[in-house]
Amino acid sequence: MSGIWIYSEDSVIAKELLTAGLELKASMGQSVGVITLAGDEQNAFIAAGADKVCILKGQNPWPESYAGAVADVVSKEQASVLLVGGTLRGKDLAANASAALRTGLVTDALTIQYVNNSIETTRLVYGGLAIQTEVISLPAFVTVPPRTYREAPAMTGRQGEVFTVEVDTIASGISISNVCPIIREGADISTANRVVGVGRGFAKREDLAMAEKLAQAIGAEIGCTRGIAEDSHWLPSECYIGISGQKVKAELYIAAGISGQVQHIVGVRDSKIIVAIDTNEKAPIFAAADYGIVGDLYEVLPLLAGAMEGK
Amino acid sequence: MSYALTEEQQLIQQSAREFTQEYIEPIASEIDHASIHPSAVVQLMAEHDFLGLYLPEEFGGASAGYLSYVLIIEEISRMSGAVASILINHASLAAYCVNRFGTVKQKQAYLPALCSGEKLGAFALTEPGAAPGAGMHKVVAAKEGDNYVLNGRKCYIANGGVADVYVVFALTSPEAGTKGMSAFIVDGNTAGLTVSRTVGKMGLRGCQSAELVFENVIVSSHNLLGSEGVGMKIAQQAQLAASVAEGAQVVGIAQAAMDDAVRYGKERIQFGRPIAAFPAIQTMLAEMATNIYIARLAVYDAASLIERDKPFMKEAAMVKLFTGRIGQSALIDVIQIEGGYGYSQEMIASRFYRDIKGAVINESSADFPEKVIAKDLLA
């Protein structure tokens, strides 16, 4: 077995994975290849460190339909590792290819290492309560969340091998229609520098205006708990922060009226400073916070917005 | 829990817990603050078969037995004593009387609607100056042709004003005192029946209590429960059946309060260690846990007597007597452990303290349980 391969339908993520792939290359002494649907990115991948680029060429615009083709390449190249960009499409494709080749697959790896001729990964389990270390026998498939690694920088003068595989992916009986981008009302909270999160402590939808006022004062975006987005529908579901929602990596996260279930905290704990405001001193959010005010957000938020204004 | 609950009873308990966490916990303190009857929750309880849980399937109930029913009362009480009181007055008092003492026709006419939640029940016994079981009643029911005409006042009627069906106790032979009392099923919208005022309460706020005025209220003789003169017997039996449910209510409130005190005791640091590490606190907790354990067993046992149609009056009275004592002492200790924290108005412990007092005094004027127990012993 030889070769570390990378696949993502998103070329930016593929370049992030190249950083992980190059780390493995250093420890495994194997070449790094990129499987891509984007033929025009071949030179960029090579510049960023790819030794090989395999371009999948087919008529089907549905990325998931290339699972079989990815599996074929991985199999033919006798890959020892396949890193897949952990978008939902990527996870779908990786599981499908993994089933076809009867390999192990780790979802959402936080770290990937080559140890004792196997791949060792860490990932979150129990809703973020714990970290599990797993060993995968080779060939090992791993999906990696977007933005886990920085994009591998382009270098000049690199050479690589490029080959194209013609793919016949006329999937039977499936048709895709109405592909509709989700229009975000604000900026993407997963990349925002400052985020104000709102939870059940708000009694009415209109009261969210207080959080908006604070967000305005500090230049933040608004996020929320799963309950606010999916039960109350006060905010669109793209605003929902948590293990199955958005992950916030802000310099400042302010949680207002959020009790702080572990599933929510997982979504914010990569933030630099966390501030919590809640009436219940025993709420778990305070254990996850750097600074907290125990009190009614209806009193605290307007004061805080006033104090931060113009700062 | 070691009491041998059947798998079905455990599943009912678990499902009730899921229900109360979803629907009752979020509103419990709000209905206490605002003293509002939670009609949406009552409707949800109806949809989930809580209202007719132990009542016969043929009349729209679930035939799950009285023990399953007290299990859900216990679960509800852990979140809200007030919601438990609404259900107890509906199911253990009003519907109980119709089911236990009604004719097939009366059951057909009233139980399906009481089980489905289309109608809520209430039990109208207490009068100004007349304590339950103590006589001095003044509401009269005069026979006129095929009807009775009711006149007088009732007070502290739980679910009063929000109920659709009242089981009303009135004197058909005033000269015979309580032996001349009879029980009637009275529709809430009958002409002449009005609510003169609702009563603000210390606890169990959200279970509305009202004063009812009967002014020439005409009730068909078809709505007489049992026969003339058996009203007191009906009332006493229903109150004892309700005592078992109130025992479950006390156990539920006390358990929730104790859980809160345990959590607080582990977190609150004084003199460098959690207060739960102090022997005085441990003694209080141990005593309340023991009392709750024993009370729960007694409640379940008395409920299973009712379920199996065995004599239960003495045991029900014992439940009332015992849960009354241990419930109040548990809450006094919980507030002691939590100190200023538990004593603050917005804290759950102070609500439990007020609610448990209400659960204890309902159906238990003065020495009523003791009388029942002694009478049985000396018979």
Partner: protein, 259 residues
Amino acid sequence: MPKVLVCYKWVLDEQDIKINLGDLSLDSSRAKYKISDYDKNAIEEATLLIEAHGGNVDALTFGSDKVKQSLKDALSRGPGSVQWIGDAAFEQADAFVTANVLAAAIRKNGTYDLILCGEGSADSYNQQVAPRLAALLEIPAITFVQKLCMDGSRTIATRKLGDCTEVVEVEGPAVISVLPEINKPRIPSLKQVMAAAKKPSQEIKLVELELSADDIIPKTVSVSVKGYIMNRKNILFKEASHADNVAKLVASLAQEGLC
């Protein structure tokens, strides 16, 4: 009328799991089990489908010997019957093994019009079983579905994929994984809880599935599970005057260079 299968997992309730602060090991001795939250959405969606179209829903689960405790809970939420595989092999099973076992059990039963799963499990959240099952059964997978309709033998599903939604139509059987937003699972009524006891459940022994030894050897092996501990400053301001609290907070944020 559709014949629907829903797969679910019986998992430890993560809210009950404590972290031992010494060695960061997990203490699940007081943890209860539950049907994985996302699978409750799958059960609800399957139930809604047959309430709208007729037909029936069967449930299928693979777990340890403890999985038997889940049967009536699952049945009270809508399915008409349940099959279960309770085997010690589950303790080490990864998604590879789980999918092999479930696929073998499904093949044994014949065909279904739709097979529903949650998008992932509440404990390990691998998000693999649905696409793996589809690959093994050689039928399409439609994953991450937020809206699902059936029209005769066609299934129309709206997927939500982070930055876009797309409508996928498929003719014939498929495996669907559902997102939590697809519905709000009902809390069963007590009559439904009681009726669950009368519904059929059937045990399938792992050996009956005639899997090869290789099919039940996991490809990923867990070597450790450690509690995740955060190091935060945990400074609380709880004076009576919120003006003071806010002033202190703002001063702290200024020190952090945040205002």
